[in-house]
């Protein structure tokens, strides 16, 4: 059975480095994650739960192991709200609120500031696209997962594949896939992006598309001829062992076909409407010229080569 390891987003080290610390009010356990992975699957949360309760028990205060501690992911949507009564003495380890897990997946911010992509993608677009659309998808995914535990224990990639259900998607698919797609999209862009890819990626593009400019033309044309809402991808096709340009509608991602995406461009109207109104051509061109992060694509294809044999690189002989 083919491994379902995510090759495109996470670092090779799957386990989180977490730093558990008691908040000052001691009612909440804050988990701060390292930058690599902010996606905490629920079985890990359950593990922290148990650890938290065990450490409480050691302090002799909490006898009830079945009530999980209130756990928040560090960069999740709702920061813990601390209400300090002036006269109240800090009562450590007395847990007043009903304890339950409040987030399964968290909203990861892009690794650049919102105004870092100006003037190509405005701060306002990022604020609305990330802060409202992406956040909305995360919240709705968490809401779906609260209902019952049948979908627990999956990484986000696995969740997408499972909920896609081979073409008959479950309602959670849209939310899960859009969370993943947007995370991937933010990482596919960088301030000062554009220009050309380098090294092996450029070689592979030239091999599969003829030249970089013909790839660029094909990518932009595909973006413009997409009907409705969707995404345009540069994927590495696993079976054919070559790069290709793929389009998907709405929330679908090449992950469901087991291909490895390297870059994506969001062609939903909300991605460009505030900046470019209906001028899709300008948006696609600006993306290629100024926003696309070839560094990210290079890292992804390097990782992908652990799973797809692309042959020997062409090393120029002196």
């Amino acid at each position: 059975m083919r491994s379902a390891v995510d090759t495109s987003r996470e670092t090779p080290f799957r386990c989180l480095s977490v730093d558990m610390s008691w908040s000052s009010s001691s009612n909440y356990l804050c988990i701060s994650t390292s930058s690599s992975s902010s996606l905490i699957s629920s079985n890990e949360l359950a593990r922290f739960n148990r650890l938290a309760c065990e450490s409480e028990r050691h302090r002799g205060k909490c006898q009830d192991l079945n009530r999980p501690t209130n756990i928040f992911a560090y960069n999740s949507l709702k920061p813990p709200s601390f209400k300090f009564d002036k006269g109240q003495r800090r009562k450590d380890h007395v847990l007043k609120k009903p304890r339950n897990i409040s987030a399964y997946y968290s909203l990861k911010p892009p690794s650049y500031k919102f105004d870092a992509l100006e003037p190509y993608m405005s701060k306002r677009t990022l604020e609305v696209h990330w802060g409202k659309h992406h956040r909305g998808y995360v919240e709705s995914l968490n809401k779906y997962l609260e209902k019952d535990d049948i979908l627990y224990g999956y990484t986000l990639d696995e969740l997408i594949r499972v909920t896609y259900n081979n073409g008959n998607p479950l309602p959670e698919f849209n939310a899960a896939a859009q969370v993943w797609n947007h995370d991937f999209f933010w990482e596919s862009m960088q301030p000062g992006g554009g220009n050309l890819p380098i090294l092996g990626l450029l070689q592979q593009i030239e091999k599969d598309f003829g030249s970089f400019s013909s790839f660029r033309e094909e990518f932009i044309e595909t973006a413009l001829t997409l009907f409705g809402s969707g995404w345009v991808w540069l994927v590495l096709k696993r079976n054919e062992k070559r790069l290709a340009i793929a389009t998907t509608t709405n929330a679908v991602t090449p992950l469901v076909w087991d291909d490895i995406p390297l870059l994506s461009l969001d062609m939903w109207e909300h991605a460009y409407y505030l900046d470019y109104k209906n001028d899709k051509a300008r948006y696609a061109n600006v993306f290629m010229d100024h926003l696309v992060s070839w560094n990210a694509a290079l890292a992804r294809i390097a990782r992908a080569q652990a799973f797809v044999n692309l042959g020997e690189p062409k090393i120029p002989v002196a």
């Binding site: 609305v128 409202k132 659309h133 909305g136 849209n174 009907f227 409705g228 809402s229 969707g230 509608t249 709405n250 929330a251 939903w268 109207e269 909300h270 409407y273 505030l274 109104k277 209906n278």
Partner: protein, 228 residues
């Protein structure tokens, strides 16, 4: 579509003024709005109306004309595969033109009766099928908000079964793709371009407010024509 008649070919020379009619191909032009761009404020802003009409609808028409010309050529050359390949472009752009033409007629400024609930046989039929206009509006808003990606939400009349249905279509698919006997009475565009500048991602607000400028009179006319 291509009106390729023997007579057209014979009158080759006579109709030199209209080269399109020469080949029997009718092209489409952007219909004018019966109201100003800003007349639907504050439900829909003037900016959105202008962009929607002058840019989006115009693009659909331009591309539809182009696709029709290409289809015409393909048919003339007997090129079946190209003719079939163009079908998706025709469905998308032609559907966009058809849908938006209905949409402009579905809207009216409040001064000219926009938002006024339907009276007469349509009102009665709505009360019969849905209980009240408010309940119908709630149902349409719920379905409209649930559309993934781009699409339309319709109040349609099933001509054969003589009853009202609420349907959604994806992208620019015309209503007939959901049923050949469906006649659109009211269509609401839930593509993001229809509301994004004003409502950003809050589609439910857009759906709530658009009912203030919906032209029920037009819907009633269509209904009475089909169900006298």
């Amino acid at each position: 579509m291509a009106l390729r008649t023997f007579a057209t070919r014979k009158t080759l020379g006579a109709l030199s003024r209209f080269p399109q009619q020469l080949r029997g191909l009718q092209t489409f032009t952007l219909p004018d709005l019966p109201y100003d761009y800003g007349a639907l404020e504050p439900a829909i802003s003037g900016d959105i109306m202008q962009l929607h009409h002058q840019k989006h609808h115009q693009t659909y028409i331009t591309n539809y004309n182009k696709a029709l010309e290409q289809l015409d050529d393909a048919i003339a050359n007997g090129d079946a595969s190209t003719a079939v390949k163009l079908q998706s472009a025709i469905k998308f752009n032609g559907g966009g033109h058809v849908n938006h033409s209905i949409f402009w007629k579905n809207l009216a400024p409040t001064k000219e009766g926009g938002g006024e609930p339907p009276h007469g046989s349509l009102g009665w039929a709505i009360d019969q099928s849905y209980g009240s206009v408010e309940k119908l509006i709630a149902k349409m808003n719920a379905e409209g908000a649930a559309v993934q990606g781009s699409g339309w939400v319709w109040l349609a009349l099933d001509k054969e079964l003589k009853r009202l249905v609420v349907e959604t279509t994806a992208n620019q698919d015309p209503l007939v793709t959901k049923g050949p006997s469906l006649v659109p009475l009211i269509g609401i565009d839930v593509w993001e371009h229809a509301y994004y500048l004003q409502y950003k991602n809050v589609r439910p607000d857009y759906l709530k407010n658009i009912w203030k400028v919906i032209n029920w009179k037009y819907a009633s006319e269509i209904y009475e024509k089909e169900c006298p």
